[in-house]
Symmetry: C2
Subunit: 336 residues, 2 copies
DNA sequence: CTGAAAGCGCTAACAA
DNA sequence: TTGTTAGCGCTTTCAG
């Protein structure tokens, strides 16, 4: 910057003014400074400026997700990035892979890089440790899962309602024996979807058969094995509600292996891309990652802009996509 | 930091030493400083330190990809992140959406944040503008596409060979009329895959029928329309090579709509997730995003560690996944 | 083993 | 409209 000032024949502060578009610089001077900066390929150091700048903003925000490679998280990420760019922000993203220790490490790493705000998918039992950062003026918005131990804005999918929709849909095709294949129960979304399943069955006056409920699934291979076991039970389910993408894929594989894909109904939570290309096409409860990401980012920037309204939870509705696999009627069961 | 020093009853430099794990601090002092830092919830400011630190490293690297939401790019991203974490690095990612202007904007945004290195998927015709950064000591590695106008390390998929494999596979099932559905020709990977298609046909003594080659496809809806048109030609192709994920999906849809999915062979470049669940299951030339990302990151850190070996291009081989759609023989054609 | 002083690149506050 | 001085939080250098 000093070099630019020297080359332009001005003081260093004038360069600063031009760089930051501050007023009270004559057009001629502005032009000379610009030219000098271009000649020297000068690139201002944002972080150096922040050290002294009144707002001290790094114009960078931190995002913690399950994995940047997870399609749902990646779409949320993209939506956040779109909003961030509008505000001149860059995004530092970190993958947690559902590891509580990783959550802590990532927050520290981002805090040391002085991100202006956090968007976090909670993994730990307790997010109260984040209060320090919020109190210091680094706002926090949670996505996909509600935080615990701290009151903060949060944007989540309508997990319970979505699951109820799925189960109600299956019930309407006469199913009474509906299996539930769920993820690790310590994951909030998994718990809520199971809750929706139980609630909707109860509302229909059906007792949950524990033999048809399997939790703790986390990958498609295990899901396939479990689905195969359920489907070869003496009294098998006539329909399956799979509560997560990989589980749905594993279940489809099991159905195909047993030649049951046109006999046993299936509704998955979280849409399977290319689900419309399978036979039968997959009926699914689709989430709206784009909207979730956008809303989360907007809440974050609202806080950065000084909004101090109380914490609120935004619930983004799901959409049932009817494509075939969920409309297979129960054998001998009541019609639609 | 001053507060921590005061609370611990030591000088500010001693705090710095403890924080950075420098030697020559007595265990007792170290402990007092640690405790004071914990009490005050002190979090060192990485950027402030870099201002004076000899290596001036922000321990942050910049990644430019087509889109963080693109499954291929997201997997590359995750692989890079894994290596980055080993080195104590965080990743600033930006989506370019194949927009040349976005490439420039993103590089500037990251340069101002003083990333220590760039991993870039080139979009523009020319990357020579990046030489400034390289000369200043910010290494650059390109992924997925080769850079132009600058010599730098680069990790890419074996596009030509992969395409040749696909076409050779189809030829071996007696096909002579093989259609090519390609992306925008200005995208390097699209061009190379077409080149592989042309080369392999030529090697088999077959002239390319221009009516069977369609370029400029970028989404599945257009691909569906184009595939339908080709398949309803008076003299339609007996096999299709689709050169990109979305195009493959669009082509499958067209085949299904026309009831031709078991009649016309299909091989796609870039594996379709859940391709094994379709009927027929989709034969594909799979890329290896994990390896690509890992290798790119390793090259970058090698440079950061002082490696000054000349620029080299690393080509990551593809793998043909045989699943069914690619093994449909040509009608009346020679057998396998 | 420890601390004081200088300065990294920049902006705030003020003076000219 | 412009420049000067101080200082952001930290590390370097060097003296104890």
């Amino acid at each position: 910057m000093r070099d630019v000032a020297r080359l332009a024949g001005v003081g260093i502060k004038t360069v600063s003014r031009v760089i930051n578009g501050e007023p009270n610089v004559s057009p001629g001077t502005t032009e000379r400074v610009r030219r000098a900066a271009a000649d020297l390929l000068y690139e201002p150091d944002l972080h150096a400026g922040n050290l002294r700048r009144a707002d001290g903003r790094s114009r960078t925000l931190g995002l913690l997700v399950s994995s940047v490679a997870n399609p749902f998280a990646a779409q949320v990420h993209r939506a956040i990035e779109r909003v961030a760019i509008e505000y001149g922000y860059a995004v530092l993203a970190a993958s947690l892979e559902d590891d509580p220790a990783a959550e802590l490490r990532a927050v520290t790493a981002l805090a040391r890089r002085r991100v202006d705000g956090f968007i976090v998918t909670p993994v730990r039992d307790d997010q109260s440790y984040l209060r320090v950062h919020v109190d210091r003026g680094t706002p926090l918005v949670c996505v996909d899962r509600a935080p615990r131990g701290i009151e903060t804005d949060c944007v989540v999918t309508a997990n319970v309602d979505g699951a109820r929709d799925a189960v109600r849909h299956l019930l309407s095709f006469g199913h009474r024996r509906i299996a539930f294949l769920g993820d690790l129960d310590r994951i909030e979304t998994a718990r809520l979807r199971r809750e929706g399943y139980v609630t909707e069955l109860a509302a229909a006056g059906i007792d949950v058969d524990p033999a048809l409920v399997v939790l703790g699934l986390h990958d498609d291979a295990t899901a396939t094995a479990v689905a195969r076991r359920l489907l070869t039970l003496p009294d098998p389910p006539t329909a399956i509600f799979s509560s997560q993408n990989l589980i749905t894929i594993g279940t489809i594989r099991a159905l195909q292996q047993l030649g049951l894909e046109h006999k046993v109904a299936l509704v998955g939570f979280d849409d399977v891309e290319t689900g419309d290309l399978m036979k039968p096409a997959i009926t699914a409860v689709a989430q709206d990652p784009d909207r979730i990401g956008r809303l989360a980012a907007e809440r974050l920037f609202a806080h950065l802009d000084g909004d101090t309204s109380p914490a609120r939870q935004v619930v983004v509705p799901t959409r049932l996509i009817v494509r075939g696999s969920g409309e297979i009627p129960a054998p001998g069961g009541a019609a639609h």
